[in-house]
């Protein structure tokens, strides 16, 4: 085959990108090696030369990473779809604000985001870490080597045996896939992008991943310091910088996780903020271990105990981040998680990444274990360090439990390697399973955080201190019991385990508040840890309140209970159907779906809630506006967004769980429309038309027959219809219909409309839900209106006001002038001089019709606007005016071919399509969850700030 000379491709960003990727990889390797020798030769004169080489190499690496990211943005912003990454993540209509989201939607982009933060952190470390620079940067650069390899896209080996290392984001589409389209040289003209998954098109996707990845990335710094400490055998000095970085890391990672929870709660429809989904678990676990590390780090710095555990925790935290990226990126979670990445062929590279750094940490720790200083004397039992250490073990325990059950798919995969027929284990109920165990973790941490806060490091005079201790603990205990009892009135904790957890949360809050007041004397700068523990306590109370008292209000279980067998299954029935404009009653609310509006691809539904008291009076009313997002072709619903009514003490969370088939899917709508059996009839106004339909009776071979009467009441040249928004130049016509089912007294009126706009025909049918009937006008009604002017035979009449003329069988009366004329086809302009004439036409039978033609002068030229009376085929023009005699000239013509009938089509099998299925959940106390978590993280921030200032003021760094 000949090589095709493609046109319209932009190859330079790709070439430059490939070069930058290779350069970045090599530079990272060089930086790691140079810093390695810089560390090994420390103290020798050549060390600084190695360090300078390392710096330069890391700089080149960093610039290359930025260049790769810049080039990817360049091809994405310019929509160069010849690049696979641009093609699969952006599209022509993707708004610019989602470019970032589109960038990190893909695996390669998220690796680059991760590396980007590593580079930024690396630069900060070069500038601040002084004697730690070489070992720390050596490890960090090694991590970068592994991460770069994920986007390297290099083949190793030959032919079919070749293994690909990494997935290069700068690949051309035609190099990635084989498709017939690449036979055309100008294929770039023919392709377009697939765009960003609409689920991800929101601001959370813009802010959550960078925060979370900064959190993930920052766990590498304590890891690097730990390795550096072990490597250089300086087991104490690294503890201080590591402490700062781990506080930073835990705060940012915590914020990232919290944003994920808020996203899940606010924008997705999980119906909660935490689902123990594997992806969530695997971001929580490194955080738990990092928090444990902060605590042992504190012990180590204050007392010299727990240095070994500090090493272990920091090493483990980063390894767990790597494990988490293995879990989410390798596809192993496919069967258990709702939101993992798809497979990309990087499984073995990810395994290698995990094994390498787990091995590095474990081996180094084992080698140095004996030389790590550890006081011979045991911690005294009433000392702070002892109980904090117990707390860190509880955290570790929690992390291991979560990791263990989340790793079941990994276990299954390994097992299947040996026994392919193995079906695999799974946790039956993730939520129940994790809650059951983590409840106890919460109890222990809550109680320990109060218990230990009053204690002192290196307790040397317990005999003197113990009275004060027991007094505060006693008061705290009593206060906590009292407050728990009060809180339990609000939080319905039915099981004693929940009450205990509630107590633990309250206890943590009470004791830590007491600690701030009496021990710190209100010195808030030193209160970082107390803030964090108060936050934790509030979080626990909030979790209990919103979790235990979470109530599906979109159901009315009381109606069912006891009446129907198996009513407990109705507890799962959490959705309610709302028909438009029909109020429904549920859980003390009257709920009504009143309207829906479309803006762009978003369709927003307005649902009114009215809270009723027992007497039925309205206590409160509000609106929620859940919406659905259609896909870019407007053919299907792509995403559903909830809407939440917020109170200080609870949220009411609503989202749409289903819509009529015809609103969710264009094909279904077409199928339904095609399925309608329209009967048509040409109706003479005023005459009753009778018709019938036959309806098959379900499960029987019989049919029921329904009889209808249909009457055309009149024709409306200026019709209104809920879906019709008039524009200038429209030719619109509507027919007023009256429909009645025989045997039923109700007469339904309908005004179907048909509109001709720019040679396009729009029909606006009317659905009568009570009759399951849809009526519309046939386009032939326009034939009478669209008759060419030249085929009309106008007759001229000159009339004064009140004068009458005869036209065939019709009497024509010029009734009066109309100084402010209006007509659907007339758009007044400011300088117009316009006057209308009201013309009355009476037929032989005595029926009266009104025509209102207009005469106007616009820009010194006379115009007139014709009026029509479709019922009798009349065309009336106001041709001129004689100011002297005050008489006017009317041109009147009758279309002899006019049928004078109204062509109506009706289908009697049209089911209603104006409903939605809603789920509404009440979350009490949810704000405590957010406030508590934020306070917990803010406490870390306060600690970090306080420690930085303290270290600047008191102990200058030994450089």
């Amino acid at each position: 085959m000949d090589t095709i000379q493609y046109v319209g491709e932009h190859l330079w960003p790709g070439r430059l990108g490939h070069f930058a990727i290779i350069l970045s990889f090599v530079a990272a390797l060089l930086a790691s090696l140079a810093y390695f020798y810089g560390t090994q030769r420390r103290g020798l004169p050549e060390a600084s030369r190695w360090k300078n080489i390392g710096r330069a190499a890391f700089g080149v690496h960093g610039i290359s990473v930025f260049a790769i990211i810049g080039l990817i943005f360049y091809v994405m912003i310019n929509r160069y779809y010849e690049y696979q990454y641009a093609q699969s993540h952006v599209s022509d209509d993707l708004p610019f604000r989602y470019i970032f989201s589109a960038f990190w939607e893909g695996q390669e982009g998220s690796f680059l985001l991760w590396m980007f933060w590593h580079v930024v952190l690396g630069v900060v470390l070069i500038l601040t870490s002084r004697k730690w620079e070489s070992p720390v940067l050596s490890v960090l650069s090694l991590v970068q080597v592994f991460l770069m390899s994920m986007i390297l896209g290099v083949y190793v080996g030959f032919g079919d045996e070749a293994a690909r290392i990494g997935s290069n984001p700068m690949m051309l589409l035609r190099d990635v896939m084989d498709a017939p389209i690449f036979a055309s040289a100008d294929y770039t003209e023919l392709i377009s992008g697939t765009g960003l998954n609409p689920l991800l098109q929101n601001y959370w996707m813009t802010i959550h991943p960078p925060t979370l990845f900064l959190g993930f990335a920052s766990t590498v710094v304590p890891f690097c310091f730990a390795i550096a400490g072990l490597w250089t055998k300086d087991h104490r000095a690294w503890l201080k910088p590591a402490m700062h970085w781990s506080l930073f890391s835990a705060a940012i990672l915590g914020l990232g996780i919290l944003m994920g929870a808020a996203w899940a709660y606010e924008a997705l429809t999980f119906g909660g903020y935490w689902a123990w989904d594997p992806v969530e678990n695997m971001s929580l676990v490194p955080w738990l271990v990092m928090v444990a590390g902060i605590h042992t780090n504190l012990i180590a710095r204050s007392t010299g105990y727990s240095i070994r555990s500090t090493y272990a925790f920091y090493l483990l935290s980063f390894v767990l981040v790597l494990y988490s990226s293995f879990m989410t990126r390798s596809g192993v979670l496919g069967e258990t998680s709702a939101h993992a990445f798809t497979e990309m062929g990087l499984e073995w590279q990810l395994v290698a990444l995990n094994v390498a750094f787990l091995g590095l940490g474990a081996v180094l720790l084992a080698m140095r274990y004996k030389s790590i200083p550890s006081p011979k004397k045991e911690e005294s039992t009433p000392s702070k360090e002892f109980w904090i250490f117990i707390g860190t073990l509880v955290l570790l325990f929690s992390a291991l439990l979560i990791t263990g059950s989340t790793s079941l798919p990994v276990f299954n995969k390994i097992y299947r390697f040996f026994d392919p027929s193995f079906k695999g284990f799974t946790v039956t109920d993730q939520l129940e399973h994790h809650n059951k165990y983590q409840l106890w973790i919460g109890v222990f941490i809550g109680i320990l955080s109060g218990l230990a806060q009053y204690l002192r490091f290196k307790e040397f005079n317990w005999a003197k201190y113990k009275n004060k201790y027991w007094k505060h603990l006693g008061i705290g205990l009593a206060a906590a019991v009292g407050i728990t009892a009060l809180t339990a009135l609000w939080v319905e904790a039915r099981a004693w385990q929940y009450l205990l957890l509630l107590f633990a949360g309250v206890f943590a809050v009470v004791t830590n508040v007491d600690y701030i007041i009496t021990f710190l004397k209100g010195n808030l700068k030193a209160a970082g840890s107390a803030f964090s523990h108060i936050g934790f306590g509030l979080l626990i109370v909030g979790v209990l309140a919103s979790g235990l008292n979470k109530q599906y209000i979109s159901s009315n279980p009381y109606v069912m209970t006891g009446l129907i067998e198996g009513a407990e299954q109705d507890a799962h029935k959490r959705n309610i159907i709302l028909f438009k404009d029909i109020p429904m009653s549920m859980s003390g609310y009257k709920v009504e779906y009143t309207k829906d509006t479309i803006d762009g691809f978003t369709r927003t539904y307005t649902v009114n809630f009215q809270k009723m008291d027992e007497s039925g009076a309205v206590k409160e009313s509000f609106q929620v506006q859940p919406n659905v997002l259609y896909n870019n072709e407007f053919t299907k619903i792509a995403a559903v967004n909830p809407s939440t009514r917020r109170y200080w003490n609870k949220d009411i969370f609503t989202h749409i769980t289903s819509l009529p088939e015809s609103e969710m899917d264009v094909e279904a709508r077409k199928a339904i429309e095609d399925n309608l059996k329209y009967q048509s009839a040409d109706l003479t106004p005023g005459q009753v038309y009778q018709f019938q339909d036959t309806v098959a009776v379900e499960d029987q071979d019989t049919f029921s027959i329904r009889y209808f009467n249909l009457l055309v009441d009149g024709i409306d040249r200026n019709p209104s219809h809920p879906d019709y928004h008039p524009e200038e130049g429209d030719m619109a016509i509507g027919a007023r219909l009256q429909i009645q089912q025989r045997g039923d007294d109700t007469v339904y009126t309908a005004l179907p409309v048909i509109v001709l706009r720019d040679q396009l025909l729009y029909t606006y049918p009317v659905q009568i839900n009570d009759l399951s009937t849809k009526v519309r006008l046939s386009e032939s009604i326009l034939d009478d209106l669209l008759i060419p002017e030249e085929s009309l035979d106008y007759q001229e009449f000159t009339l004064k006001q009140g004068e009458v003329a005869q036209f065939g069988d019709y009497r024509i009366t010029f009734a009066q002038f109309n100084r402010q004329p209006s007509h659907p086809n007339y758009e007044p302009q400011s300088e117009d001089i316009a006057v209308g004439a009201t013309v009355q036409i009476q037929d032989a039978a005595g029926s009266n019709y009104i025509a209102q033609p207009i005469y106007l002068i616009r820009g010194n030229r006379p115009f007139n606007v014709k009026d029509q009376i479709p019922e009798i085929g009349f065309h009336v023009r106001f041709a001129s005016i004689d100011p002297g005699t005050e008489s006017i000239s009317l041109l009147v013509a009758q279309n002899q071919n006019a049928t004078n009938t109204v062509p109506v089509e009706m289908a009697t099998n049209s089911v209603r399509s104006d409903f939605l299925v809603l789920q509404a959940i009440e979350f009490p106390g949810i704000n405590l969850v957010w406030f508590g978590s934020l306070l917990m993280l803010a406490g870390m921030g306060v600690s970090l700030w306080n420690r930085r200032k303290e270290s600047r003021n008191t102990e200058p760094d030994a450089a």
């Binding site: 392709i191 709702a338 079941l408 695999g424 799974t426 399973h433 409903f915 299925v917």
Partner: protein, 132 residues
């Protein structure tokens, strides 16, 4: 022995105890046959029988979806899902149901749907207006 060691041993003890409890939370993916036997809540993985009818009629009951699923042994049963029909359900590759048998019908309270990616790499959208 240090106190920490005692606590360590105690925690390992608790861990072993908890792990023995965890076994109760775990199950292999069951089959309809297993569910018949067990009579209690199980998890079943399988494929939607796309040739059989899927019924979701919110006007009658917004919390009732019925369809047929084939389990890993190829057995096909009617499923009643006590929830609204999820989006793109018809495209699903795999379903994981939680629930129990009620006579011949499997009543599911929870369902996880695994769908093929909507944005598969192989798909190239052709700009029809440019061609035509």
């Amino acid at each position: 022995m240090k106190k920490v060691h005692f606590i360590g041993i105690a925690m390992i003890g608790i861990a072993i105890f908890l792990l023995s409890q965890v076994a109760g939370d775990m199950s292999t993916y069951a089959t309809f046959h297993d569910a018949d036997q067990a009579g209690e809540k199980v998890k079943i993985a399988g494929q939607l029988a796309k040739d059989k009818e899927i019924v979701y009629n919110p006007e009658k009951d917004p919390n009732y979806t019925s369809f047929y699923m084939r389990d890993s042994e190829g057995e096909e049963r009617k499923i009643v899902l006590l929830a609204a029909k999820p989006q793109d359900f018809e495209l699903s590759e795999q379903l994981v149901l939680t629930g129990s048998m009620d006579g011949d019908t499997f009543v599911a309270t929870d369902m996880l749907t695994k769908c093929p990616s909507k944005y598969k790499d192989e798909e190239i959208y052709i700009k029809s207006e440019k061609k035509g």
